[in-house]
Symmetry: C2
Subunit: 212 residues, 2 copies
DNA sequence: TACTTGCGTTAGAGGTTCTAACCAATGCGA
DNA sequence: TCGCATTGGTTAGAACCTCTAACGCAAGTA
């Protein structure tokens, strides 16, 4: 099924994406230029439109790749048997992933392009990530009681696990938002100049979220 | 000191900014076009360069205005005597401010433009905002003990209040990151389609942060 | 009243995305 | 093995964008 043409096509697409990532890393997604990528590859601008319908499609692919990579990274880090240690490891892996390439994280969680709708595959990857978190919390006692529990019990459409306890849903959600709170401020540079060590704040928040 | 020319200049600058805000709200900051603004104002493109050195300078002004407005909004909401009620009110006001104009919030806390350095006035406004939070927590008992406290006590350069207790610093910081965690995901649309009510999650997180 | 300063203009350079039209080469079916 | 459709490259060009240069008019100032 993989005709030589298909193979070549995939190869070129990958090469384009590689250059795109390099450009995103240095100049951000908003400055991504198909023309510049073409020039780097030694071909002429419009040639790229044989491989990507337009700039948005390329960016969408990058977003999707990032989503899937983050989910895979989280899942790969979930090795410890003890749920607490597992969640801690997952959190650390996610932060490391974000710091490794800040703009990759921001491509997912930063300013969205208005009018841009995330493709279904993105929500799928998001669910996959959530299931890693949920897996940790279902193996843990309920945590402190919360009025949120019953609400989430009634609105659990987003949950990757139909049978998960409401308390686990709540804690996974909170884990996510708190982790994102610290990491997103860190990668966006809002801590620079403040003087403290973000790592310590992060660790404290993760520990608190695990017992929330 | 306000010569008629100065007055006119300020008036035009304000009008430009108004159009810029409208454009940011609908198409995001990355799509902001000086040319389009000029056309809307009935003048020709390059004329705007008499008022703003370049596109970046305009955006910087928008960012600054947003920063100051957020800080002022938070301060204005800090009316209740009871510190808990005060912090709750401040949090609600900040969330409302974000939801009122998502792109205004994202202009501050979203994806930063690489190579863009926040002007000193921005950090000033950030400190002002922080002082509102700090004011709430200094009026509250220390909360749960944390290893972070001593670290922050040693790295308190960012604190608007020299004499604030380390525990208050920690809790203000945590309040900020948690609030941002929920609000930023909400305004970026990451909760849409999940089905639950972000308001309830927010309220729960604020309550938890106040007692952190 | 004379003059400097500031604000507007158009022209244009150089960048972008993306479409249209064309051509060569590649791989596939007959 | 040959013919041909498909694919991937090309250039030209339209319609945007930012920003500079050069110029002229109309203000406020001395």
């Amino acid at each position: 099924m993989t005709s030589p043409r298909m193979r070549y096509r995939e190869q070129v697409r990958d090469e384009v994406k590689e250059h795109a990532w390099a450009q995103v890393a240095t100049s951000g997604a908003s400055a991504l230029s198909l023309n510049a990528i073409a020039k780097q590859m030694g071909i002429s601008g419009p040639a790229l439109y044989r491989y990507f319908r337009n700039r948005d499609e390329l960016i969408t692919e990058l977003v999707l790749d990032a989503y899937r990579d983050l989910a895979a990274t989280a899942r790969a880090a979930a090795t410890p048997k003890d749920p607490r240690a597992r969640l801690t490891a997952v959190a650390a892996a996610m932060r490391a992933w974000a710091l490794e390439a800040p703009h990759r994280y921001l491509l997912i969680y930063g300013t969205p392009v208005p009018g841009y709708a995330a493709p279904p595959e993105a929500t799928e990857a998001a669910r996959d990530l959530m299931s890693v978190l949920l897996d940790g919390f279902t193996a843990l006692p309920d945590g402190s009681p919360s009025t949120l529990n019953s609400h989430l019990d009634r609105h659990r459409a987003w949950s990757p696990d139909e049978t998960a306890a409401a308390a686990a849903l709540r804690r996974a959600l909170v884990f996510w938002t708190r982790l994102h709170g610290v990491v997103s401020l860190e990668v966006a540079g809002h801590f620079t100049g403040m003087g403290f060590d973000p790592q310590l704040l992060f660790a404290a928040e993760v520990a608190a979220a695990i017992d929330a």
